[in-house]
């Protein structure tokens, strides 16, 4: 095995552990932290089913963002939808399950080009961040770098797909060998520089995920203003620490 292959194997194990442990710990923290008061932003659903629907509209359509700023919504939504389409296409590097492969193969001719939608979305968001004075004011270096990181991942990925035509079979074998700890059958990673950069940056993304604003992904589901049922008069809501005050 080449040095590159060994280094990447180690890197991806480390990145995966950091991502999973980091995210699980954060989610546990959100889960365990009580919401002592009913604070849904009203008008809010009065049933649990209504809350699920509200959350669905937020997560899938970015409903609140749509109400706020059409441009941010447009680029933001474009970026996210394209991102998920791209990631879906990536399933083929990790699984052999037949129907998944079939679905991926079916959508691939179209989804392939969504890399460009993702890049356009990211560029639009960045332009906004750079040129709208209010958004520039609230941006820390990390906010710019996050966009840069995703752009570089997107561009390097697109280069491998559309220009250098990396040996994806080797990539797949490498990752499946990693997943099943099957080192004897691990092939060498392609040395296509775009692929190397792609994988390096993806590992970086995984590592920073649980310590960055990407925590908006679990965060959105835990937001009390969005996930609470509007029924305080009907049902008494009380946190454990608050109950102690009653004794």
């Amino acid at each position: 095995m080449s040095f590159l292959t060994i280094a990447f194997a180690a890197l991806f194990y480390a990145a995966t552990i950091l991502l999973v442990v980091g995210l699980v710990r954060r989610i546990m923290l959100y889960w365990k932290t009580p919401a002592p008061l009913k604070i849904p932003t009203t008008p809010a659903p009065v049933t649990q089913g209504g809350v699920v629907l509200r959350m669905f509209r937020e997560v899938v359509f970015f409903e609140s963002l749509f109400k706020s700023t059409k441009w941010t919504w447009l680029f933001g939504w474009l970026f996210h939808v394209a991102l998920f389409a791209v990631l879906f296409r990536h399933l083929r590097y990790f699984t052999d399950i037949e129907w998944v492969m079939n679905v991926v193969a079916f959508v691939s001719p179209l989804f392939k080009y969504l890399a460009f939608a993702m890049i356009i979305g990211l560029l639009g968001l960045w332009v906004r961040r750079l040129f709208v004075d209010r958004v520039r004011y609230i941006s820390a270096p990390s906010d710019h770098l996050m966009l840069l990181l995703l752009l570089l991942i997107g561009v390097s990925g697109a280069m491998t797909t559309f220009v250098t035509h990396t040996d994806v079979v080797a990539v797949k074998q490498f990752f499946r060998a990693l997943m099943y700890f099957n080192f004897s059958e691990m092939p060498n990673l392609p040395t296509d520089p775009f692929m190397v950069v792609h994988l390096l940056l993806v590992a970086l993304l995984m590592i920073i995920f649980p310590v960055s604003k990407l925590l908006h992904v679990p965060g959105v589901f835990f937001s009390p203003t969005r996930n609470q049922v509007d029924n305080p008069r009907e049902q008494r809501h009380i946190a454990d620490w608050a109950r102690k005050l009653e004794q």
Partner: protein, 510 residues
């Protein structure tokens, strides 16, 4: 126009998003609470030597108690959607009044002490040490947030800056940096029973005076009872209703509605205040203590129902929190929600047809309605989501022929704050209050010019007081603000009423 030693914003025909001008409101801060106002709330009197460590400890404590705080401090992606949604930013141009700018004042410290990135790469993620300057900024800008939650409507994660402001104020209180206005008032509630410090005797006198006025005007002996044991309904209303204009005309209206509905009701001298400033300072303990008075009063008087008068934040605490803070209310009549809003009661009576209405009592007005933030975005009326918008409008339309809404992006859940909510209704913040009122004033002026609106109705004691004060700065008449139940009062024809001269009462009220 009222005189001011600051520039009064110009009202535009169309709302516009102003450019960022850092620091325009850095000088604005309310008076600090003296030790005597801190201690009744169990807060230290002044800044201790180790305030820095205590503040960080307090932050850690709150992070463990409030999921909102923990999740919101982590989740913001700086998308900027909220940046042009706060009336204080729109009125002052100060970027620290953009909701996310305000949050970041706390978030940068949170990141520095509680997150990996902030501990090891502070510059990269904009994390900062807690210094005296940062604390001063906190004091200034967390007292430039009326906790109106408009930002939370537009944020893709529902990040509610009010939650952040409340936490920040609690942290500051715990290190002896309290705000005089709120903390002095909470002390008064503990000592005397209401925000204004009206003792029982004065209250009884006032109510007696009201009874005389109403009887003189209508010939009907409408009662305004105090501390009547065994009454069915306990009415809890903001103390401004007892004498301030136009609030008191609303109280007269509640009494008339109860009278016509034929129910027995009472006010309580112990719970002679609906307001609960414990919410503004983010203190669960104090909010709970203030709320418990209502439970105790209900138990002592043996009532069956609790109804709240017109007040915004009070209705939030009542509707959303009372059951949590002072419940369960299983000793009350289970047929009725606990608590109810006076508008729910009145609308119900109107639908039942118990009230005789003569709309001509309000013919001299073209009315618009100001949705109060806490009613609009933090509570509900009736059974359906959005009842808090429909019921007040239904009641107004039932008693008044001329109703016009303001622009859609300034009403319902998108309503603009009056500029004086969240514990900012104090003279030491006059500049902020005037500037923060700008978006509402703009929308109001537009309906005045386009539809000849003469009056704006409100259902919040703070809104009413704030508008009365700031309208003149914008060249408008302070008397154009009316209570919704004042409109009801103008139109209601009491059984056996002698004088038909409702116009007169309208003039008095205006």
């Amino acid at each position: 126009m009222a005189k001011a030693d600051f520039e009064i914003p110009q009202l535009n025909e169309y709302p516009e998003v102003p450019p960022v001008v850092p620091g325009t409101m850095a000088h604005s801060k309310p008076f600090i609470a003296k030790p005597e106002f801190q201690e009744p709330l169990n807060f230290p009197g002044e800044l201790p030597d180790d305030w820095h460590d205590q503040a960080i400890d307090a932050m850690g404590d709150l992070l463990g108690k409030y999921r909102s705080l923990q999740v919101y401090l982590d989740s913001c992606v700086k998308c900027g959607a909220c940046t042009d949604k706060c009336h204080y930013y729109l009125g002052t141009n100060d970027p620290k009044n953009m909701p996310v700018g305000r949050q970041d004042l706390l978030r940068k410290v949170y990141r520095r002490y509680f997150t990996f990135a902030g501990k090891y790469f502070p510059k990269l993620v904009g994390a900062e040490d807690l210094t005296r300057e940062v604390l001063d900024d906190w004091y200034s800008y967390f007292h430039q947030c009326s906790q109106c939650r408009r930002c939370s409507v537009f944020c893709p994660y529902g990040i509610d800056t009010a939650e952040i402001s409340m936490a920040a104020r609690e942290i500051m209180d715990r290190i002896g940096v309290g705000q005089k206005y709120c903390n002095e008032i909470i002390g008064k509630v503990f000592r005397i029973g209401n925000n204004l410090g009206l003792p029982e005797m004065a209250l009884a006198d006032t109510l007696e005076g009201l009874e005389e006025d109403v009887e003189e005007e209508t010939g009907v002996a409408v009662k305004y009872p105090l501390d009547v044991k065994g009454a069915d309904i306990l009415l809890v209303t903001p103390s401004a209703d007892f004498f301030a204009e136009p609030h008191v005309d609303g109280l007269i209206g509640y009494g008339k509605v109860f009278h016509e509905a034929g129910v027995s009701w009472t006010l309580s001298s112990k719970a002679s205040e609906a307001a609960n400033f414990g919410m503004f300072i983010g203190s669960y303990e104090n909010m709970r203590r203030v709320s418990m008075r209502i439970r105790e009063a209900a138990l002592e008087l043996g009532v069956k129902r609790i109804i709240f008068g017109e007040c915004g934040h009070a209705w939030r605490v009542a509707y959303s929190f009372l059951n949590t803070l002072a419940g369960p209310f299983d000793f009350l009549d289970p047929k009725y929600p606990v608590p109810q809003h006076i508008l729910e009661f009145t609308w119900n009576e109107i639908q039942k047809g118990t009230l005789k209405i003569d709309k001509s009592g309000n013919d001299d007005m073209v009315v618009t309605f100001h949705d109060s933030c806490n009613v609009a975005r933090a509570s509900r009326m009736g059974d359906e989501p959005g009842g808090q918008f429909k019921i007040p409008r239904n009641v107004i339309k039932a008693v008044c022929d001329n109703f016009v809404d303001m622009a859609p992006e300034t009403i319902h859940e998108k309503t603009f704050c009056c500029g004086g909510g969240g514990g900012l209704l104090t003279d030491d913040l006059m500049e902020l209050r005037v500037k923060g009122a700008k978006p509402r004033m703009e929308a109001l002026r537009n309906v005045i010019q386009e539809h000849g609106v003469t009056n704006m109705a409100a259902i919040c004691a703070i809104c009413k007081s704030q508008f009365t004060k700031v309208l003149p700065y914008y060249g408008m008449d302070m008397e154009m603000i009316v209570s919704v139940h004042q409109l009801v009062s103008n139109a209601i024809v009491l059984t056996g009423q002698t004088s038909e001269d409702d116009d007169e009462s309208a003039d008095d009220a205006a």
